[in-house]
Assembly symmetry: C2
Homo-oligomer: 412 residues x 2
C-alpha cells in the first residue's frame, strides 16, 4: 500500500523537478483559492475530529491545536501565497569554476525528490508542508495523526484537485490514510522511494523516527533554550529580552526555558529581571541562591534543568562565571537557540564561538530563530541536527544539489 | 566500552573545534613524519594481517588492498601533507546579512563533531580518514575490519602519539579494537556521542549501516555509471572517453559500467568504440542488436543492467532515443556519475537537466568525479545520497554550520 504511494510520489517528483517557478506559483495560488472556497467542507470534517477528540477527553491545548475555523483556514490560504512569493530555490547555481583542463564545473540546486512528513494533531501542517515541498520541487507524502484524519483528508483532497486543475500531478501531495503505527514505521523505511523524512512533533515522535527510520531524517523542534546574563550585562536589556523570550509565545521551541545569571550581578539584576515575569504570571524555579534573592521564586528540582516547559515557567540558576554557564548549556541544551546578554565584547565572542547550537545570540531574544525573522522565508521547522541543515528549514534546505560538468572530450 | 570511546571523542572534539588551522597543520605534519619513521613497525604488523588473510584464503584483489609497503606508507604520509595544505574549512563565513531590525546574522561553518568511519580491509583509510577529520575539526572513531586490525592498530598508535606530542588530544583519533559485528552496530547507534557515520566499503556494509544506524549516515561509493552516445555524437570522442572511463582504473566507483548507444549511430560508432576496448581485453556484454553489430561482443543477461563490475567488463545497449537512455539510467543508475556524448547542445542540456545523479557530464569521462579532479582537494568518498552532501565528500562537506546573531537588545 505505502509502496504504491511511494511509486506515485517518485513519478510525480520526476515531473515536478522540471516545472517552472511560474507554474508552481500558479498552482499554489490555485490551492489558496480552493482552500478558501472549501471552508464549509473542511470545517465539517474538522468538526468530526473535534468531536472525537472531545469524546477521547483530550486536553484543551490539544483541542486548540486541532481546531480550525474560517480565520485559521484563511491564514493557511494566505501563507500559501507567501510561499508563492518566495524565490524558487531550484536551479540556483551555487558555485561554478573552470578547471585547468577546461572542464567547466557547475554546482546547482535540485529538489530532494520525495519528502515524507510525519506529524501529529495540527491540520495546518498539511497545507503548510505541501506548499513548501511543492515550491522546492519535491513530492510529499504526509502522514498525520489519527486525531486529525478527517481534517487532513479534506485539506489534501482540496490540494490534489487544485493541483490537477493546474496541470501538475495530483500525486505531488499524498496523504497516508492509514494512521496506524505500522504505517508510520513503513513510511520511515520506504527508502527506495522516499529521500528524506521530517518528523514534526514532540520528542516521542522524533525518537521513534530516529530509532526506526532507514530513510535519512531531518530532526526538528526540540528546544530547551537558555539565556545567560553575564556579569557585564545591562540588567534592563536582560529583563526586556528575557520577558520577550519567555512570554511572547511560551509554547514554541524558541522560547527561553532557563536563565543563567552571573553571581556578581545576580543580587542587583535578578529583581529587575523577575519583576515583569512574576507580574505576567511566570513561575520562576530557582536554585538555592536564586530563591535567596527572589522571594517570589520556588525551589527548582534536578529535573528542571534541561526541561522544555512550553509554558509560563522559567528555570533560573546562578553561575560562578561564563565557563559554568557554558558547561550548563552543553549539558542541558538541545542545540537549538542560546543567548548571552553582555556589554563585554570578548565574553560575547567567546560565548558565540563556544556554544554548539543552531543559533547563538548576543543581546537579542531567542525568539528570532525563525525562517521569516532570519529573512529566509517560510520554514517547515527548525533543525537541531548538524547534518544537511541546521536552524530554519526553508526552501533552500529542502533542496539537494548536483554537479553539471561541461567538457570537450576530456579524459583523465 | 564504545560509550567510553564516544565520551572521549566528544571531549576531544570540543577542544579540536577551537584549534587554529596552524596547529592542526603542524599536527598533520608531525603525523606524516611519524608514519615515515614508523615504517618498520607498521610493516611488521601488516605482515601479521597478510599472513592471516593468506591462511584464510582471501582473494588476490583482497590481499592487494590489505598489503602495505614502504612506498605505500610514504604515499599515505604525503597525502597527510596534502591535507595540511588545504584551506581550513572551519569558521568560514557562508552568508551574512543585516535585518531591517538591525540584527546582524552570520552563517558560519563549524565542525560536525564526532564522525564514525566504518570500513573494510584497506589500512590506508585509517590515516586518510583521520587526516580529513582532523583538518575539519572533527574527532573520529575508526572501526576497520578484523582483517586489517594489526595494521590499523599500528597506524592509529603512531597518529595518537604524534597528536599528543603536538599538543592536541590523542582522542581526536580512536580505533575500535573490537572488530565484532556487535561493535560495528553499537557504533552506528551511539547517537548520544557520534554526529555522523560514514561507511566506506561495499554494498553489504552500506546496507547494514542504513538498516541499523540511528546516527545520521552519509552513504558513499556505489557507482554504476553510464555513458550515453547520442545520435549526434562524435564517434572518435565517444571512443576516447569510453576507453578512458572503462580502462584507466576499472575497480573504482567512477568507472563506466554500461554504455547506451543511439540506434541511428550504432552501426558506424560501435565498431569505432569497441576496437580499442576489445584490444585492451575488455569483455563487451551487449544486447541483441549490439551483438549483431559487434561480433566480438557476448550476449548480456538481464542482470548485467545496473551491475557494478569493477572490472574490464562493459555492458552495451542500443537505445531508440535519448528518452530511452534516460529511462535506463533512471532504472539502473546509482546516482553517481552519468555522461552524454553529443554535439547537440539541446540534447546535452536535456540530459544534464534530467539525470538525477551527483555528477552529470557532457563530453567528458565519468572518471573525473573526484575531489582532487573537481579542485576541491582530498575527499573521504563520493556521496550518492541527496542529504547534506552529494558527490565528493571533502573538508567542506565534513562541516556543519551555525548562525551567530548580533543584536543590541532586539526583541520580537
Amino acid at each position: 500500500m505505502l509502496e504504491i504511494l511511494g511509486k506515485q510520489a517518485q513519478a510525480a517528483a520526476r515531473t515536478l523537478a522540471h516545472i517552472s517557478a511560474q507554474q508552481k506559483n500558479l498552482a499554489l495560488a490555485a490551492i489558496a483559492t480552493a482552500l478558501r472556497r472549501s471552508i464549509p467542507q473542511i470545517l465539517e470534517q474538522n468538526a468530526l475530529d473535534m468531536q472525537n477528540a472531545q469524546t477521547n477527553g483530550m486536553s484543551r491545548a490539544f483541542l486548540d491545536r486541532l481546531r480550525l475555523d474560517s480565520t485559521r483556514i484563511e491564514k493557511i490560504s494566505d501563507s500559501l501565497l507567501d510561499v508563492a512569493s518566495l524565490e524558487d530555490p531550484v536551479g540556483r547555481v551555487l558555485e561554478q569554476h573552470v578547471r585547468p583542463n577546461g572542464l567547466r564545473i557547475q554546482k546547482v540546486a535540485v529538489p530532494l525528490g520525495v519528502i515524507g512528513v510525519i506529524f501529529e494533531a495540527r491540520p495546518n501542517v498539511t497545507a503548510d508542508s505541501a506548499a513548501l515541498c511543492l515550491k522546492s520541487g519535491n513530492a510529499v507524502i504526509l502522514r498525520g495523526g489519527s486525531d486529525a484524519i478527517h481534517s487532513n483528508t479534506a485539506i489534501t483532497s482540496v490540494i490534489r484537485t487544485a493541483l490537477d486543475q493546474s496541470g501538475l500531478p495530483a500525486d505531488c501531495v499524498q496523504l497516508v490514510e492509514d494512521t496506524s503505527r505500522e504505517s508510520s514505521v513503513a513510511l520511515m523505511r520506504l527508502s527506495e522511494y522516499v529521500n528524506v523524512i521530517i518528523p514534526r512533533g514532540g520528542r516521542g515522535l522524533i525518537r521513534s523516527v530516529i530509532e526506526n527510520a532507514t530513510v535519512p531524517v531531518i530532526e526538528t523542534g526540540a528546544g530547551t533554550c537558555h539565556i545567560y546574563v553575564d556579569r557585564a550585562a545591562d540588567a534592563e536589556m536582560a529583563a526586556k529580552i528575557i520577558y520577550n523570550a519567555k512570554t511572547s509565545h511560551p509554547s514554541v521551541c524558541n522560547a527561553v526555558e532557563c536563565i543563567l545569571v552571573h553571581q556578581d550581578i545576580a543580587a542587583t539584576a535578578l529583581p529587575v529581571i523577575a519583576a515583569p515575569l512574576l507580574e505576567a504570571g511566570v513561575e520562576i524555579r530557582g536554585d538555592r541562591q536564586t530563591c535567596a534573592y527572589l522571594p517570589g521564586a520556588v525551589p527548582a528540582q534536578q529535573d528542571d534543568w534541561g526541561r522544555e516547559y512550553g509554558d509560563l515557567i522559567l528555570a533560573c540558576r546562578i553561575v560562578q562565571d561564563l565557563e559554568e554557564a557554558l558547561d550548563h548549556i552543553q549539558n542541558y541544551g538541545t542545540g537549538h537557540s542560546e543567548a548571552i546578554i553582555t556589554k563585554d565584547a570578548l565574553a560575547a565572542d567567546h560565548f558565540l564561538e563556544s556554544v554548539d547550537a543552531a543559533a547563538v545570540y548576543h543581546n537579542a531574544s531567542t525568539r528570532f530563530t525563525d525562517g521569516g525573522e532570519f529573512g529566509l522565508g517560510a520554514e517547515i521547522g527548525i533543525s537541531t541536527q548538524k547534518l544537511h541543515a541546521r536552524g530554519p528549514l526553508g526552501l533552500r534546505e529542502l533542496c539537494s544539489m548536483k554537479y553539471k560538468i561541461y567538457g570537450e572530450g576530456q579524459v583523465r
